[in-house]
């Protein structure tokens, strides 16, 4: 165990844990747009910057990304000092120029008092902050269907050759983790479209509700050894089926006992 001070309070943490996971456990709200527990920390958005110092640092301070900084014994952390807030305002100011139409960014910026960017707004902004969550999550799932394309000024997230991505299974994970909701998809009847690729949605055998795409089901059953017919029922009907089974076991064992 490691003991550190956050905003004047002494807290315990596990060795090797990142600062951000400790502050979250302590209920401290630090913006962290490029972070998701499902993937390794990446340090792309720089919004989670905090101020750190130690007793022996003689009053010197440093600014680090909380998502990437492992806890240390005796660390003294300020998560919302005026300097930290100023750093975040600068980042938000830049993000606001990049994503002038993103409600998520506008709101976060406003919380830090930035309502108008000091920089020039990007024309035809696509609201992507290049946090890399979508590509990392897709990679983590093993599909690796999308990636960043180009670099610097022209960098975007896109499928290979900017065509419908051959490795995409339509799981929607990328769209769901995107902090600015950039990735569009459409579910219509038994058809799902994402990244310009169309998928067939499986309808639950019992209730008819759409579950996941056929491609995702096939990938899951081969990757994780799940029987393919598992995906023919939706979660709800699975639960119902299970409870009926459980019920019959209970009544069977009661009968056996009596």
């Amino acid at each position: 165990m490691v003991s550190l001070t956050i905003n004047g309070r002494v807290v315990q943490a596990n060795k090797g844990e990142m600062l951000l996971s400790v502050t979250r456990r302590e209920g401290i709200d630090i913006p962290a747009l490029c972070h998701h527990d499902a993937v390794e920390p990446f340090g792309a958005c720089r919004l989670c910057m905090v101020e750190i110092t130690k007793a022996e640092w003689d009053g010197w301070t440093n600014y680090v990304a909380a998502c990437l900084y492992p806890v240390e014994d005796g660390l003294i952390v300020q998560t919302h000092s005026s300097k930290v807030n100023e750093l975040r305002r600068t980042v938000l100011d830049l993000l606001l120029a990049r994503c002038p139409n993103s409600p998520e960014i506008r709101q976060l910026a406003a919380e830090y008092g930035v309502t108008q960017t000091a920089y020039e707004e990007i024309p035809d902004a696509d609201n992507c902050i290049l946090c890399g969550l979508c590509t990392r999550v897709c990679e983590r799932l093993g599909f690796k269907a999308i990636s960043t394309v180009g670099r610097g000024h022209d960098k975007v997230v896109a499928p290979p050759l900017k065509e419908a991505p051959p490795d995409c299974v339509g799981c929607l994970s990328c769209a769901q983790v995107c902090p600015t909701n950039v990735i569009q998809y459409e579910d219509e009847g038994n058809k799902r479209t994402i990244w310009n690729k169309s998928f067939e949605l499986i309808a639950c055998k019992e209730c008819g509700k759409q579950t996941i795409t056929r491609d995702f089901a096939e990938a899951l059953s081969s990757q994780r050894n799940i029987p393919e017919d598992y995906f023919e029922l939706c979660d709800e009907c699975h639960r119902r089926e299970l409870s009926v089974k459980m019920g019959s076991i209970v009544s069977w064992s009661r009968e056996a006992a009596s």
Binding site: K144, A145, I146, S147, V149, G150, R151, P160
Partner: protein
């Protein structure tokens, strides 16, 4: 377009079939075809066992790679600070007029691609024009046309 993809297997033979060989393989493909044909990207992904998305990401990251056909010779005009002061702009315009293309484009006969670069690290020779790997210093508006002519001949012999 006619690019001879039969040459690909030979390129793959040169390196271990691992993801680590990706850049080396792409460099050789670029050299062979003067760009990276779509089909070659797909084949490379399969041969080296790299996701196609990664192949695309790498091929769009480095300036040395191009997804569109480039000329047999790449003429790069340095427009870094020193060359700029010594007249790079005029040289660029001269070459654009002479080749009838803009910077970043390729001549119709696919002989030349004209590019501007921000410093080739040879400021002492400014203004600099590089034709492929050969660096020419002290280039003038008059001499840059000759450069084009010379490299055309060089190709033939």
């Amino acid at each position: 377009m006619n690019h001879d993809l039969d040459k690909l297997p030979e390129i793959y033979e040169r390196y271990p079939r691992t993801p680590q060989s990706l850049i080396a393989v792409l460099q050789d493909i670029q050299k062979e075809f003067h760009f990276l044909p779509t089909e070659a990207l797909k084949r490379t992904a399969e041969e080296l066992n790299v996701p196609l998305s990664k192949v695309f990401s790498v091929s769009t990251f480095y300036n040395a790679f191009s997804l569109h056909p480039r000329g047999e010779k790449i003429i790069r005009v340095c427009v870094g600070t020193t060359c700029h002061i010594r007249g790079a702009k005029q040289i660029q315009e001269q070459l654009e007029n002479h080749l009838k293309i803009k910077a970043g484009e390729t001549t119709e006969d696919k002989k030349f691609t004209l590019e501007v670069v921000a410093c080739v690290g040879a400021c002492a020779m400014a203004p600099v024009v590089a034709v492929d790997e050969t660096y020419h210093g002290g280039v003038t508006v008059a001499s840059c046309r000759k450069l084009v002519k010379k490299s055309k001949k060089g190709k033939k012999s």
